[in-house]
Every structure is written in structure tokens, then in C-alpha cells.
Symmetry: C2
Subunit: 330 residues, 2 copies
């Protein structure tokens, strides 16, 4: 039984979408999870009228951190916010994971502050799952760190591999390095050096450089990149679904069933949320615009992450990587 703390105040459609997502998850995976709804009881109770309460509890929190607030400051100033209270529950062993569609910056800052980081991580990367022709690709980092060093890009490859294995049952994730060409010597100094580190690490299934047009084609399962380019790609991808539907409508394709099927392929909500990798706890960050479906799917990733021992596995991998790096440097 996995206990998930769900931030009820996070996201554009809070508290309705989180609560609806929670109820859908409880129905879909009965007996697998308990959900602690983190937020003001007086706003949550009315939405639970007539709903069976098994597997649901409320963890009171009165404050919300807005998307526009400076993250670190907001976390310190709002100790009774849903993000802070939810993470404290994880830290104190009262919950196994936090899911939030609130401010990404605030969730990141609060996670580092409250849960702490795993060995060798200074800023935990955020991974985002893009649907692809063959399945999905985990792109990381998508914005935690605008300038990553080669050692960090290498670390992302390790972290992403373990996340996909533990949370999405990909036995041997293929890791690619985003670059402007296929050859090992392409790109700037950072990616050239990262290529060598990834290539030398036998615990990673490194498939080499991956160019922008190979992402959707499914050239790899984990795409390693710096946070600046990762963030641009993620937001660009997300905007595509709406654009394509607009184009389809203009082309006279307006039957909802067809649009729905098409959207499903371009739909970031399919995978629910982006894991924050490298903090000492399971944290899944959902898009601010997440509908209930995305929050429900994030629960699945949380169940699998906790059940497979993601955090201890990441800790072990990071200790090995650090040891390996020190051995190479010595």
C-alpha cells in the first residue's frame, strides 16, 4: 500500500482536478494506494460529498504558493502551504510520495530544503516524458539547471535510466545525448565531454548523440540535455498538441472522437508528471494545466516509483557514479 500526499491547491484547476484525479486513481487501482489530500479541509470536504472515504484522508494546509512567487522565498514565508506540508509528510514517513501541479520552482526548492538531496546531486534535474512514435522518451533536464556540467549530464543518464526501469518497466533504457550532429566531436565543450563520460559508463546503454528530429522517432528512451534546451523543447512540444488540433479544425476535421484519438498521441498528460530526480523522496511535478487524468496517471508513476524502490536505487547509483568519478580522477 503506497501513501501519496497530493497537493490539492496546486495547478490551474485546483482543487477540483486534483481531487477528481485522486478519486479516479483510487477507483482504477483499488488497494494499491492511500491518498492524503493536502489543503484546507473546508474546501476539500464539499468535494468529497457522497464519495466513499476509504483510502482518503485530509492533511490540513491553509496556504498556497502562486506560480509567480519567488520559489525559495515563498517556501520560507509559507510554512503552512500545501507544498511544504505535503513534503514534510514525506520527510516524516507519513507519506511515500508527493504529487503537485503547483509552482515547479517552489516544489523543487521545497523538496531540496525539506527532503534533502541524494549524494552527489546539487540541483536535482526534472525529467519530462514526451510521447513518441514508439512509446515515450524521458527528457532531462527540462529546466532545473540552465547550465549543466558534463558530470551532471552523465548523472542524468544514470538517474533517468533507473527511473524508467523502476517506474515505467523499461528493462534496458537506451540513453541518448541531445546534440547538433551524430559524430562524437559535435557540439560545444560540455556535450563533447559528456559524450565521453556516458560512452565510458558500462552501466548505461548509451546510443550516442541524438538530433532533434530523432526524438519523436524514438531514437532513445532517456534524452540527456541541459535545462535550457530541455525546457525549450518541452514547452514547444506541449504547445504542439493545441496547434495541431487548431489546424485539424481548420481542415474540417472536427469530430470529437477523431480529435481525441489524435490528441492522445501528443498528450503530455498521458504520463502524468515529471519526476524530480535526486531528492531524498519520490516527488512528481505535474503541469499547472494538468487535468484530472494527468494527476491520476501521476499516481501510477508514484505507486511504481515507491514500489520498485526508486529512491534507494538512485542513491546506490549515485554513490557508484561518485565512486567511479573519483576513481577516474585519482
Amino acid at each position: 500500500m503506497i501513501r501519496v500526499a497530493l497537493d490539492v491547491l496546486g495547478g490551474d484547476s485546483a482543487p477540483d482536478a486534483p481531487i477528481e484525479g485522486a478519486l479516479a486513481a483510487l477507483e482504477a487501482w483499488p488497494g494499491e494506494l492511500e491518498i492524503r489530500l493536502v489543503g484546507p479541509p473546508d474546501r476539500i470536504e464539499p468535494l468529497l460529498q457522497g464519495v466513499p472515504r476509504e483510502g482518503i484522508s485530509i492533511l490540513p494546509a491553509s496556504e498556497v504558493i502562486g506560480q509567480d512567487e519567488p520559489p525559495a522565498l515563498a517556501v520560507r514565508k509559507k510554512p503552512d502551504s500545501s507544498i511544504v506540508r505535503g513534503l514534510e509528510a514525506v520527510r516524516d514517513g507519513e507519506a511515500d510520495a508527493l504529487i503537485s501541479a503547483g509552482s515547479t520552482g517552489a516544489v523543487m526548492a521545497a523538496s531540496v530544503l525539506i527532503l534533502g538531496v541524494l549524494p552527489g546531486v546539487n540541483r536535482p534535474p526534472v525529467g519530462a516524458l514526451f510521447p513518441t512514435a514508439g512509446g515515450r522518451v524521458l527528457v532531462l533536464d527540462v529546466g532545473a539547471h540552465v547550465n549543466a556540467r558534463p558530470e551532471q549530464l552523465h548523472q542524468y543518464g544514470r538517474l533517468g535510466s533507473i527511473y524508467l526501469r523502476d517506474s515505467h518497466a523499461v528493462a534496458h533504457p537506451r540513453v541518448g545525448l541531445l546534440n547538433v550532429g551524430e559524430e562524437a566531436e559535435k557540439g560545444d565543450d560540455v556535450v563533447v565531454a559528456a559524450y565521453q563520460l556516458l560512452q565510458a559508463d558500462r552501466r548505461i546503454e548509451f546510443v550516442g548523440n541524438v538530433e532533434g528530429d530523432q526524438i519523436i522517432a524514438g531514437a532513445c528512451d532517456v534524452l540527456v540535455c541541459g535545462g535550457f534546451v530541455g525546457n525549450a523543447l518541452l514547452k514547444f512540444y506541449e504547445s504542439m498538441a493545441g496547434f495541431v488540433v487548431g489546424v485539424l479544425r481548420e481542415s474540417g476535421i472536427s469530430r470529437q472522437a477523431e480529435l481525441d484519438r489524435i490528441l492522445r498521441f501528443l498528450d503530455y498528460t498521458e504520463y502524468g508528471g515529471a519526476p524530480l530526480l535526486g531528492v531524498d523522496g519520490v516527488v512528481i511535478i505535474c503541469h499547472g494545466a494538468s487535468p484530472a487524468r494527468a494527476l491520476k496517471n501521476a499516481m501510477r508513476a508514484a505507486i511504481d516509483s515507491v514500489g520498485s524502490g526508486l529512491v534507494p536505487n538512485l542513491r546506490r547509483a549515485l554513490e557508484e557514479t561518485s565512486a567511479g568519478l573519483e576513481a577516474r580522477e585519482a
Copy 2:
């Protein structure tokens, strides 16, 4: 009358696609252009059988530079290549513009070597036009320069504005800076500094930072970014059209007319080619997979670029920018 040198050996469908594109352009814009087909006469002549020869001439060239050859080396080793011969014609005043769907790296290297660069440019950026909801956006740089300095990003804003004004009749191009957030202090040191330079330049209509999800929405006409992220976005965008069509087919939408209408919106061939800005001549680089239609549309951009005085206008702008920078630094 604009004289265009067209590389007949460049691209995956050479020489058929270039020649077909040339004939389509001559038919579409009679009296506006003359085309010099650069390539081996014995391969060109058979494709001109039965075609009226007005406006067409052949400039012999026997060698082709492949996509996989190291650009600078290939340019030196193959003096009789279509790219080199075409650029020499531009340099010697025998043609007003070069269009090539050959190796981007080779066209860039040969352009710098043969035409030279305009004042203040060390590596000319390549701009690519993305179709958007409202029209198109010129993204530059898309790969000439993996690491751009703030002064270069500023320069891209100037170059891109002038190109859109002169070649695409956009009276007041809005310039955006690709970034991970809207606020001026977002991003790494390079983009933070570039923001200030763009903001301070009153000759540019600077609209501030633009995030990945605002590109397709049409938030700006010129999107300034480093070559690494620009290249990733361009290739990602290009791969989307094929992906979407695959999804549509799976969804049971397979009528060619509908697919064609949809593709037109996602189609990079709509705008023909990417200008190489900052060399002393009009050079338009087309995608290697360009069909005849893209090459035809590149002719339109070439006609307008030459007709509007793009190169002298760019030269003047660069001299002003350099003077402005020196004044600020003094």
C-alpha cells in the same frame, strides 16, 4: 531581373528536384528571374528536353560535396563543385544569389571563404522559418554557432529584423529572445546579457523573452537563440509533420486532400529555405530533403532579398551595431 545560381547537385533528390523547382519558379514569376543551373551539363541537358530555354543557362561544375564530408576540407579539395562554382559566380557578379540544398556546413564554409563576411560577423548565423499559427517566425541561429555570445545574439536580432523586412515584407518585425521564463533575469548569463542589449537597441522591436510554448503561438517574428537550442528546435519541428501524419493515418484520416491541407501548416518547405545572414552575398540554404516546391519558394526569397537590397542593408545595420557597441564600451 534577378540572376540566381542554383546548385543542381545539392539535396537528396538532385538533380531532378532543383531543376523542377527552377522551372516552376520561372513559370510562376516570368520576367523576374534568370536561373543559372550549376552542375554537369550532361546531367542537366536531358532534364531540359522540350522545355523553353528562356531564362535558363548552365554553369558547368563537375564535383559534388556530400553531406558527410568535413565541410572546410571538402570546399578546398573540390574547386569544381557546384557549391564553389555557384558562389564564385555570386562573388564575380555573374549571379545575384546562390540557392543550394547541399551540405549546410559546406555552403556555410564556402560562403565565408568565397564571399567573405560583413563587418562585425565572425560566423554568419543561419535563420530558419517555422510556420506558426499567425504566419511564420524566423528562428536564428539554427546551428552555425553552438555557443553564441550576448553581442552575437543581439546581432541576430538586427540581422533577422532586416531579413524579414526586406525578404518577407514584415514592416516591423517583433524580436523575441528564447528563454526559460518571461522575466528579464531568467536564463544563463549569456541570455541575461543579451536581453539587456536587445532591450537597449531602439532600432529593434524587442518583445522580451519568449518561452518554448509561445513560438508556434506567434509571439514574435524573429526568435533569437543560440545555435545549439535553435538546431534542436528546428529538427524537432521538422520531424513533427511526419509524426502528425502518421498519427492521423492511425486515426483513420487518410484522405490525401485533408492530409495535404494539414501538412501545409507544418511544412517547412512553405518558406523554401534558410538564409545565411552576414555573408557578403545572398545565400539561401535549403533542407537536404527539399522537394521542388521548397526550391521554387527559395527563389522567391532570393528575388525579394536581392530586389530589396538585403546585403547593403545588413552591412549598414552591422556597421551601426558595431559603432553602437563601441560607443557603449568607450
